[in-house]
């Protein structure tokens, strides 16, 4: 098991996603520290992009705000470097292909290693296109995170066989619940090939929703729930984030008892 898989070798994990630079790099830095303090196991940091095709309206708006406020990849790398003086919680950068291609795949992976990024997620580079990127990531001890969807059933073997870090199962909470049978089948299929953690990401918010998803997976990535709180409270979102995560981690303890 890789470093990230070992750190994340737990059940009922609560992890989070934030868009870097929304509303400013300084605010993102404080918000990440608040999330860490509240006990999240890992933070995914979204690199804002002009055309985030895989995001819903809430994260799209965060991307627009971040770019309007002058967020760049250089500022994000500097922020991560500064954060590493304060925390060793895993950081995973989520970026669309073009900003990374523009930086250079290899240079990007080297920089990730240098500033202390543990993994990368590239939503628009699927398995069939990722050989080059995977090699650069490996050379720099960065995990290239594998994304799977409810439509991936017939592709699972090749997708997850060599997956490292964690597997990110993306779906809307609604479709997750409408397709529980598919989710169960997928988890069984994934476990034939790998034991690394599976985290669900898909607009979940309430304790109840999260508890239900925890029964099938190893944890959740909170996305809209965090991004909306940040959109509402801006640089003062820290306390709201802590309060929210605190409420959820209570729920996780309960789920562990009843599972």
């Amino acid at each position: 098991m890789s470093k990230l898989s070992k750190i994340l070798d737990k059940k009922n994990m609560i992890t989070g996603f934030v868009t870097a630079g929304d509303p400013s790099i300084e605010a993102t830095k404080e918000n990440i520290l608040s999330l860490v303090e509240a006990g999240v196991e890992m933070v995914e940091i979204g690199v804002p992009f002009s055309d985030p095709v895989a995001e819903g309206p809430i994260v799209q708006s965060a991307n627009v705000r971040a770019l309007a406020n002058g967020c760049t990849i250089h500022k994000i790398f500097d922020m991560i470097e500064e954060l590493r003086e304060k925390t060793q919680v895993p950081f995973v950068l989520m970026t669309y292909a073009n900003p990374m291609y523009n930086y250079g795949f290899e240079a990007f992976c080297q920089k990730c290693k240098a500033v202390g990024v543990d993994g990368i997620i590239v939503p628009d580079v699927p398995y069939e296109e990722n050989a080059e990127l995977r090699a650069f990531a490996q050379q720099n001890d960065i995990e290239l995170i594998t994304m799977v969807a409810l439509s991936s059933m017939n592709r699972l073997e090749k997708l997850v066989k060599e997956a490292t870090g964690y597997i990110r199962l993306g779906a809307s909470a609604k479709s997750f619940h409408q397709n529980k049978r598919t989710v169960e089948d997928m988890m069984a299929e994934i476990r034939k090939y790998t034991q690394i953690p599976v985290l669900f990401c898909g607009e979940v918010e309430t304790k109840e929703e999260i508890e239900r998803i925890q029964l099938y997976t190893d944890g959740v990535v909170l996305d809209n729930a965090l991004v909306e709180r940040i959109a509402e409270h801006g640089k003062n979102a820290g306390d709201k984030l802590k309060e929210y995560i605190g409420m959820l981690t209570g729920s996780v303890a309960k789920a562990q008892l009843t599972a």
């Binding site: 992009f49 002009s50 055309d51 095709v53 895989a54 819903g56 309206p57 799209q60 627009v64 770019l67 760049t72 990849i73 292909a97 073009n98 900003p99 990374m100 291609y101 523009n102 930086y103 939503p123 628009d124 580079v125 699927p126 398995y127 069939e128 296109e129 994304m147 799977v148 969807a149 409810l150 439509s151 991936s152 059933m153 017939n154 592709r155 997708l159 993306g170 809307s172």
Partner: protein
């Protein structure tokens, strides 16, 4: 290297959620493209419904007026729905039907592809939803109403620059939420493999006909073949059968907007850099950080920050040339071809006409240019009037 490459360009860069459906499309297309029944049905639609073959028209007055090469126009503007878009749409809509889909969705810029898609959906009994940038729904309000008349639902896309690229984003998002019964009918030779190949195959009927027609009319191949390029579907269709004819110069005319030295341009080959976006590796207008640039052109159909991967490769290999044409030049050509030949050509196609006007006088009288008139310009009349400061009341 993965499938669907044109040199280093192309590929299939899309979120995992779409991959199984893209595989399904690829397999279905590979099967039906060689299926006799499918090809018979498509041929019937093209000849009996879309009005193919389109004319290859000798523009005698323009030729004499410009005093150089003989000018021919491939009249895609005379197709049903008024542009080349119908060639691809009939193919993809028929494919959707064979795949058991009951609903098609599409992006549109100028509205030509949206109208063509809505038309095919009406004819073949498919549900249809069109995504169009809010900015374009204003520029091309008449086409919005036209699509609605044909039974389609039109969504005005309010994200990003509210133009063609945002319509593509939204259409891709919509597809991920409903793949079982829906096919995304992409309108240009762009996007993830297999779309650039499928659209090129369906559009290559343009050059297949034009090549035979010019041999019939002149007994020789043309010296230059020309077309406007946004994503590049009419150009790819116009070039394709001539690629192997090495003596034929292929020229794509990009929308330079207010000029390639301004921010307000959409000339991808002139100002873009290599990148990965909208499912493909190709050239894109982008800033120093790889953010896709908000491009501009008077023509909603060419107002796109990328270019199809096969064009990117034709540029790399030098087989085709790409030249920028400004708004001013295109509008002048729009007016010139109307007065000289009695043809109101689309503002998109007028970009190619503008370059014909530059090039023809520099060529000998025994040389031949074929220019693709990709669409008719009725949709643009109001915008051209506004451009000239004329106040129209209907």
């Amino acid at each position: 290297m993965s499938e669907g490459r044109y040199g280093k360009h192309g590929g299939c860069y899309i979120p995992e959620v779409l991959m199984s459906e893209i595989e399904n499309l690829k397999k279905s297309y590979e099967y039906y493209k060689n299926d006799e029944e499918f090809n018979k049905e498509l041929q019937k639609l093209l000849t009996e419904y879309a009005n193919r073959p389109s004319l290859l028209y000798y523009a005698k007055k323009m030729t004499e007026d410009l005093g150089g090469a003989k000018i021919y126009f491939k009249r895609e503007d005379l197709n049903h729905t008024g542009s080349h878009k119908i060639n691809n749409v009939l193919g993809q809509a028929l494919l959707a039907k064979k795949m058991g889909k009951t609903r098609i969705i599409a992006e549109t810029g100028a509205g030509q592809h949206g109208v063509a898609t809505a038309t095919a959906a009406a004819l073949l009994g498919l549900e249809c939803e069109i995504f169009m940038g809010e900015e374009d729904t204003i520029r091309q309000a008449l086409n919005v109403y036209r699509m609605e008349l044909l039974g389609a639902k039109v969504h005005a896309v309010k994200s990003g620059t509210r133009t063609l690229k945002d319509a593509v984003n939204e259409c891709m998002r919509e597809w991920t939420t409903r793949m079982d019964d829906t096919l995304y009918v992409l309108g240009s030779v762009m996007g993830p493999h297999p779309f650039p190949m499928i659209v090129r195959d369906f559009q290559s009927v343009i050059s297949k006909e034009a090549r035979a027609q010019i041999l019939e009319a002149e007994g020789k191949l043309p010296d230059v073949v020309m077309a406007c390029v946004g994503g590049g579907s009419n150009a790819m269709g116009m070039f394709y059968e001539f690629i192997k004819d090495e003596g034929v110069r292929l020229i794509g005319c990009e929308a330079a907007g207010k000029g390639i030295h301004t921010e307000e341009t959409a000339a991808t080959i002139a100002v873009g850099r290599e990148g990965i976006f909208h499912g493909m590796k190709s050239y894109f207008c982008q800033d120093e950080y790889g953010q896709i640039a908000p491009v501009y052109s008077i023509s909603a159909g060419l107002d796109y920050p990328g270019i199809g991967p096969e064009h990117a490769n034709l540029h790399d290999t030098g087989r085709a040339e790409y030249v920028p044409v400004t708004d001013d030049e295109a509008v002048a050509a729009f007016e010139y071809i109307a007065k000289t030949e009695g043809i109101i050509a689309a503002i998109e196609s007028s970009h190619a006409v503008a370059h014909v006007m530059k090039l023809a006088p520099t060529m000998r009288k025994d040389q031949i240019i074929i220019c693709c008139l990709s669409g008719r310009g009725d949709k643009d009349v109001a915008a051209i009037a506004r451009y000239r400061g004329v106040d129209l009341h209907e």
